[in-house]
Symmetry: C2
Subunit: 162 residues, 2 copies
């Protein structure tokens, strides 16, 4: 009974994380906007920024991993590997979202000390896409965090009886 509950919680968290990483990837990849400022035309897209490229790569890797694990999770033989890979994926997701958030923050607020102006007024749709992708990525990162804490709790409890 406890085992069935554990499997259901795990699968729900994995489905949530899979949906979130997939959305984050799609929303970030489709972000594109052209704008004209003082007669200079420029286009904003994710591939202009190495950080956003890393974000898309990380979310895509997590999406692929999430899909594979959904099919494998019933096999006990790979359980240990999955616990370890879950931690690695959580680290990759955390890394990518933190980096993208830092850049997005400069895009929105600018950095007056460094002389970097905010760009979201010029390309509001692009910024909306990025915000959406970041929210989805954040949900995925939280899902993996909960998943990790939960599986560590489940696996470690029998080792350390109170």
């Amino acid at each position: 009974m406890a085992k069935t509950k554990r499997i259901i919680i795990t699968i729900l968290l994995r489905l949530l994380a899979f949906g979130a990483t997939l959305s984050a990837t799609v929303v970030m990849v489709t972000s594109h906007e052209s704008a004209k400022v003082m007669n200079i035309k420029f286009s904003a897209k994710f591939s202009n920024s190495p950080t956003f490229k890393f974000y898309v790569t990380a979310e895509a890797i997590a999406t692929g991993y999430g899909l594979i694990v959904l099919f494998l999770s019933s096999r006990r033989s790979v359980d240990r590997l999955i616990v370890i890979l879950d931690v690695v994926i959580a680290l990759i997701l955390t890394s990518s979202i933190s980096a993208a958030l830092a850049v997005a923050q400069i895009g929105k607020k600018g950095d007056s000390h460094a002389g970097w102006l905010p760009v979201c007024n010029q390309v509001p749709k692009f910024c909306d896409h990025v915000t959406g992708a970041l929210i989805a990525g954040f949900v995925a990162a939280i899902a993996y965090l909960v998943l990790n804490l939960y599986s560590l709790h489940v696996f470690l409890t029998p080792l350390f009886p109170v």
Copy 2:
């Protein structure tokens, strides 16, 4: 015998991580440089950027945690908590270093699409400090990654006999 080896490896990794996070905190906090560009005086310091403030906070938390755990690690009763907290600290460190790296990359290379100019030519010493702090933080993050993979491996192996 195997247990002694495990304890020694763990303590060495923790000492390395502790030294690295401490250096990262100190080097980042002491980064400060004033420059004059076109008669406008400006000063670069870590507290100008929310991302670098987050970096210092995260490294300081990891330093404090590292110190406490070095004293506690001999008590078996807190082993499970430490395994879980190690994962959390690794996530915090990864997050802070990724964010700081993304901002530092813009500081060094700029972002021509967004019209953000590189600032490292104006404040080279500040950039050197940030680079040093990032390298130290990177060492700490790797130490925690290895520590996590190692303790997951050690604790999970008896649960999943081949």
